[in-house]
Amino acid sequence: MNIILTSIDYILNQSRANSLWPLTFATSCCGIEMMQTVASNNDIARFGSEVFRGSPRQADLLICAGTITHKMAPVLLRLYEQMAEPKYVIAMGACTCGGGMFAETSYSVIKGIDKIIPVDIYLPMCPPKPESLIDAIRKLQKEIGKESVLKRKEFLNKHTQRLTESCGMLTDEINVTKLGVL
């Protein structure tokens, strides 16, 4: 039984880790670095994640590139909820990790997006270089490699519970059907 489970885990994790399709989502200057990562010098396509999807339904990875203000926060949460499981988040830039240079003086910036959505990888710099974004993606791929189908389910249950607690209104609007392995 364990052999079957681990082999399924291996195949699933490998395929998930190697085709992380990011969502086209950039709120400020970190977005420019993200574009640079896709372009020819730092080719993100080598790791299979150059397929930027416009629709959150088809994306796996939310690279939150840039400052999130209080007005943007509900939008970010909504986008995250619209993404289909399994989904991962990279908090790119100092602003998304903990407010950055807006942490003490600004009235409008959220001090860290982990107050709204769960974050897998933090990438603090202002702004991070393309190399560091690629490094973050590689680290996320390693994290995905350690995942297990059963543990993912646990994580999912805990996570949806937390989401419904903090924003029950939004989750009610989306009707979710679960098919396939998950």
Partner: protein
């Protein structure tokens, strides 16, 4: 096909299996072959496109999964297979699920109509070409269904754009195909291929006398497939993802793959109509010259299939090249281009071909 049929029946008779079994399975086997080949070709095409797009923009393209990135699309397919399926609350559940199911059917039928080699057409009707054109325009039905059932304004916009595009570009295709039918005096794809065979090799193909038609049809095929520079139905900067905005997981994968399957089918049709189908570009086949006659006579069929695939992949290469080069057209320019430019040109082309046919005395050689 008859030749293969007798071979198959003979093989079964040797092993004491009744002929009835052979009669039934003979038509099931091609379907399985088409399905398996289609899946492989489509997965290969996705990688082909991503690699080529990488090279055109001086990148490396996917190269980490498997040797040289060969397993990249397999990883994508697995991931999409196991991803969550979301049905939006406002969507029409039945139609929403039906749309991705029916999009693959016309492609499968269309692939059965192509003559892969002189003995190998799965469905050989007298009016193959006509059926292909009718079937080839059907996926737009499922695109419209998807756009309507999603209950999303962007999906609906994308679907509507796709329908208007197909309406505009189907007409020039019809005229071009008429001109090819005039040249070959037939609507059967195998006979159209045979009509292009001559000792002149490349110069006997219909792409030479009917060059205007070839260019027109090439442009129309790109437009029908919703590819750049005519990718208005999926314009990412305007419509998020077009008609498949609300689709996720496997249903989206089916849309994504069917696009490539259609691309492959249309490239095959272009190769058959204008580039001589399964004919060798050298005027005669190479395998009987290289191999001893008893092997060579069988290998000829594979060589014919090889030439057809090589030609269609050349066409696909050019289509991807165009995608990497050109920006997107505006919606009105797109329709104007078809109605005001391509349609008159295709009618002119038809007249030219009729005159050519008349002057060469009934048979263009």
């Amino acid at each position: 096909m008859n030749y293969l049929y007798f071979l198959y029946i003979e093989f079964l008779a040797k092993h004491n299996i009744p002929q009835l079994f052979g009669d039934i399975t003979f038509y099931v086997i091609p379907c399985c072959i088409i399905f398996a080949a289609l899946l492989i070709v489509v997965l290969a095409l996705v990688l082909f496109e991503r690699k080529l797009l990488g090279w055109f923009t001086q990148r490396k393209g996917p190269n980490r999964v498997g040797f040289w990135g060969l397993l990249q699309t397999l990883a994508d397919a697995f991931k999409l297979l196991c991803k969550e399926n979301i049905t939006p609350k406002g969507a029409d559940r039945f139609l929403f699920n039906l749309a991705p199911i029916i999009i693959f059917v016309p492609v499968m039928v269309a692939l059965g109509l192509i003559p892969y080699s002189s003995e190998f057409t799965f469905m050989n009707f007298q009016t193959n070409l006509l059926i292909f054109i009718v079937i080839g325009a059907m996926p737009v039905l499922s695109i419209l269904l998807a756009g309507w059932a999603s209950n999303n304004k962007y999906s609906l916009f994308g679907a509507m754009r796709s329908v208007s595009q197909i309406l505009a570009y189907e007409l020039p295709i019809a005229f071009v195909i008429l001109s090819v039918a005039v040249l070959a005096s037939s609507l059967n794809l195998s006979q159209i291929t045979l009509a292009q065979s001559s000792a002149k090799g490349i110069f006997g193909w219909f792409g030479i006398p009917c060059f205007i038609g070839f260019v027109i049809m090439f442009i129309c095929v790109i437009a029908e497939l919703n590819r750049c520079p005519f990718d208005l139905p999926e314009a990412e900067s305007e419509l998020i993802c077009g008609y498949n905005t609300e689709y996720s997981g496997m249903r989206f994968a089916i849309f994504y793959l069917s696009e490539y399957a259609l691309l492959f089918a249309n490239a095959l049709l272009l190769a058959v109509l204008f580039l001589g189908g399964y004919l060798s570009p050298f005027g005669k086949y190479l395998s009987p010259m290289i191999f001893p006659p008893e092997i060579g006579s069988i290998l000829v069929y594979f060589e014919q299939a090889f030439w057809l695939f090589a030609k269609s992949f050349l066409i696909i290469f050019v289509i991807i090249w165009i995608r990497a080069t050109l920006p997107r057209l505006a919606a009105f320019d797109l329709l104007k281009f078809s109605w005001a430019c391509l349609l008159p040109l295709s009618i002119l082309n038809l007249f030219l071909m009729v005159i050519l046919k008349y002057l060469t005395g009934g048979g263009y050689v």
